[in-house]
């Protein structure tokens, strides 16, 4: 499962645009030299306007698109607090600190597999990048299942289309797509009998736990991209841990916790104590 990962760098990236793409969702495009990012990896950003000011820690964000030739990396984020708000307000042309790429990548599906990407909320961005690479490879036709509280929390089609020709949506309130949870849509997809389904999920913890349970029940492989509060993002603080399910079989001196930032963020869902 482990593939070679690009080298991490702590560099400056120039903001080439920031666009409001939905309700509280913004997309910032960063110009950064010689950085390659694999699908599922994330970066730690630090708006320079915050230097010498605080919030102190960086902003961990998944990468939602990469244009290697032009040296562009996109992040897609909801403005929820001071740091995301600061990022949104960085003027075009100004620099942000860019530490990355960090973490592991989504494992590539078997060539005959049907990838099903299940996302919710701010978990959708890494799936967009992953779906896009799958489609570009022209070997897979990923299904993208997306849930959100209401229509306003959904990303627009234009952002999702590069990742999947088969986007299915659910909203809690029925204001867009099917009313209800993404797990219903996932059940449907699995029951439709796609060949060798493999599920990749990223979103709120409760959603991923439900997806993991559902897959485990049907023996469908499932990979989840986890999120935890992060300080460093490169493994040194041991702050971002999650509990492993396989703790008995892992009498490692480090115990039964895995670091999301370097051991993940992507885990085989069966490894996690949901």
């Amino acid at each position: 499962m482990r593939q070679a990962l690009p080298v991490v760098a702590d560099v400056g990236a120039r903001v080439s645009s920031t666009t409001q793409v939905a309700d509280a969702f913004f997309q910032t495009r960063l110009q950064v030299r010689d950085v390659s990012v694999e699908p599922g990896q994330f970066v730690q950003l630090r708006p320079r306007c915050l230097e010498g000011t605080y919030p102190y820690l960086r902003i961990p964000l998944s990468v939602s698109a990469v244009d290697t030739e032009r040296g562009l990396v996109d992040v897609l984020y909801e403005v929820v607090g001071p740091k995301t708000s600061a990022l949104r307000h960085v003027c075009v042309g100004d620099e942000v600190g860019f530490l990355g790429p960090l973490g592991n990548r989504f494992p590539e599906p078997a060539s005959d597999a049907t990838p099903i990407l299940v996302g919710g909320g701010i978990g959708v961005p890494p799936l967009i990048y992953f779906g896009t690479t799958l489609r570009t490879a022209e070997r897979w036709d990923p299904i993208l299942v997306v849930g959100a509280r209401n229509a306003g929390k959904h990303l627009p089609d234009t952002l999702l289309e590069p990742a999947s020709a088969d986007v299915r949506r659910a909203t809690d309130d029925g204001s867009l797509g099917q009313a209800g949870l993404v797990t219903n849509l996932l059940t449907e997809a699995l029951e439709a009998g796609s060949a060798a389904p493999v599920v990749y999920t990223c979103g709120p913890h409760a959603m991923m736990a439900a997806v993991a349970r559902l897959c485990a029940g049907r023996d469908v492989p499932c990979f989840a991209s986890l999120e935890e509060y992060m300080a460093c993002g490169f493994g040194v603080c041991v702050g971002c841990v999650v509990e492993r399910a396989d703790k008995e079989s892992q009498p490692s001196p480090y115990g039964h916790y895995a670091r999301v930032c370097v051991d993940g963020p992507i885990f085989d869902a069966r490894q996690i104590a949901w």
Binding site: Y54, P55, Y56, C232, V236, C240, E243, Y254
Partner: protein, 303 residues
């Protein structure tokens, strides 16, 4: 060019900037970001007699100009450290200070005795100040008697310099400082984190799995400087100052207030090369100010 070499309790440091315990692991994760040989030294993550899995997550949360952590001394234990971590550390061209903690004074002695066989350790830093250890750490560091006992136990088992790491969560830090010096400490490092808590009012729950944690980062710098200055006036042993150091100017403030050397903690998370940048910054500030030796600055505060 300013001479940055610093003698700390007999340890010859290339410069007065070290990485703080718990914020640089055992060196490996930071190697991609900075040349550890450019630092004065590194203080390894606290090790305990037995391995510890640490506290339940969430273990960290950001606060205004700082962060809370409740890692809970996750570490591979003394044996795991010696077997798995030391070989890498031993090869580094920088001074390695090993930080230890244990539930009793006797166990501190045993650990120190065992480490006596490990070649190349520059000093032992004794963590009598962790707020995340229910069976030691701050429990000792809040009492002069217990502090003295623990340090004396370590002292009796090692010929290496012993550095006592103090907690700020006390009424009279000078009394603790006197106690550790009585116990035989060759140096003091301060401060460990302040006790803190974060609350999620909607869920009515503490944010940290462990309820409380330790506050670090720029927010605590004024507290660290005040306590450092108090201790500096009271004892004669050298002090490693820390607490919120993010820039070379921060480090220089600690030197002026009485620290012979400084440790950089939380800042490394934000800027993995922070400590090396601070070394460079100290050098250029001192050069510009015409300071021949960085040690001239130590304790020069005029009040």
């Amino acid at each position: 060019m300013t001479d940055l070499t610093t003698n700390f309790a007999g340890i010859e440091l290339r410069n007065p900037v070290l990485l703080a315990s718990g914020t640089c692991g055992y060196g490996e994760e930071l190697a991609p970001f900075l040349d550890l040989a450019r630092l004065g030294g590194i203080v390894t993550k606290t090790i305990t007699p037995q391995p510890r899995v640490g506290n339940a997550p969430p273990r960290i949360v950001e606060t205004a100009a700082g962060m809370l952590n409740s890692i809970g001394l996750q570490n591979p234990g003394l044996d795991g450290f010696v077997q798995d971590k030391w070989p890498y550390l031993a090869r580094l061209q920088t001074e390695i200070i090993v930080n230890i903690a244990a539930p009793t004074a006797d166990l501190h002695r045993d650990m120190s005795a065992r480490l006596e066989d490990v070649e190349g350790i520059a000093a032992i830093e004794v963590n009598i100040s962790s707020p995340n250890m229910k069976d030691g750490g701050m429990l000792f560091g809040c009492s002069p008697t217990a502090s003295r006992e623990v340090i004396a136990a370590v002292r009796s088992a090692t010929r290496r310099p012993v550095i006592a790491k103090l907690t700020p969560n006390v009424t009279d830090i000078v009394a603790i400082a006197h106690a550790v010096v009585d116990g035989g400490a060759d140096g003091i490092s301060m401060i460990n984190t302040l006790l803190g808590m974060a609350v999620d009012w909607r869920s009515r729950k503490p944010v940290l799995g462990n309820v409380t944690g330790g506050l670090s980062g720029p927010a605590i710098k004024p507290v660290a400087l005040a306590l450092l200055w108090k201790v500096r006036q009271a004892v004669d042993v050298p002090i490693m100052g820390m607490g919120g150091i993010a820039t070379a100017e921060d480090a220089l403030e600690f030197l002026v207030a009485g620290a012979t050397a400084v440790q950089v903690g939380t800042s490394t998370f934000v800027e993995p090369g922070a400590a090396a940048n601070i070394v460079a910054g100290i050098e250029s500030h001192c050069d510009n100010a015409g300071i021949a030796r960085v040690e001239e600055l130590v304790g020069t505060l005029r009040v």
